[in-house]
Symmetry: C2
Subunit: 116 residues, 2 copies
DNA sequence: CTGGATCCAACGCGATACTG
DNA sequence: CAGTATCGCGTTGGATCCAG
């Protein structure tokens, strides 16, 4: 289910992975959903700078790729929960290493600023 | 767990990481450069679908973020080598996990197709 | 609350031509 | 070989309104 152009030397693993999780906000979405199931507006709250339109779009794509599950509760007011699928959970090492590196990177950048 | 920064903004580690390596082709570029130093046209060859313009741009950004080094040889014809910086090499776990997951994902997708 | 539909500006990106 | 410059279009994505 390619959303960006699929045009790889057939079988580059990194390209294949980025094809699926390389969307602008997908990494962050997966990061949050790995820690807990969340509703639509909960996701908006932890990612304030993502517009509703974009959040919806990225969620749909992740769902189409079978990484997350969308569960609608037939209630009023509506309630929709997003959670990782079993397949999506296999991304744990990827997101985890991203988080680890990001943490150290934030320190690194802060250090560079402090040095000035 | 007790110290995880739940509220993502600002300073979400995953966002910070994606900020730097989330560019459309950066993951693939880093993947290749982690295995070996390469010249400009060598990179083009292993990533045929990336235009020259985009490759140049992404390389410049990675260089600005101190992840890769650009070494110009004052020769005719020109020769420019791109390599990982020491800091860039700290991305090894990230790229590695991406590659691992991508490999299994390719098998998964092939399996889905075979099932039909 | 959880979206879908529409309009429109911004710019990412490709194509092409040119240069040291 | 390794870029830079310019043009132009198509997509992205924000803002807004509407709906179940």
């Amino acid at each position: 289910m390619a959303h960006t152009n699929y045009n790889c030397n057939p079988g580059c693993p990194v390209e294949a992975a980025l094809e699926v999780i390389g969307g602008k906000w997908k990494g962050v979405i997966l990061y949050h959903l790995l820690s807990e199931t969340m509703r639509f507006n909960e996701l908006r709250r932890v990612m304030p700078e993502v517009t509703q339109r974009m959040l919806t779009k990225q969620l749909r794509e992740l769902e189409a790729d079978n990484l997350i599950a969308r569960k609608v509760f037939p209630e009023v007011p509506p309630k929709v929960e997003y959670s990782m699928t079993e397949y999506g959970k296999t991304l744990t090492p990827v997101i985890h290493s991203l988080q680890q590196w990001g943490s150290r990177h934030l320190e690194e950048v802060a250090q560079r600023v402090a040095d000035r």
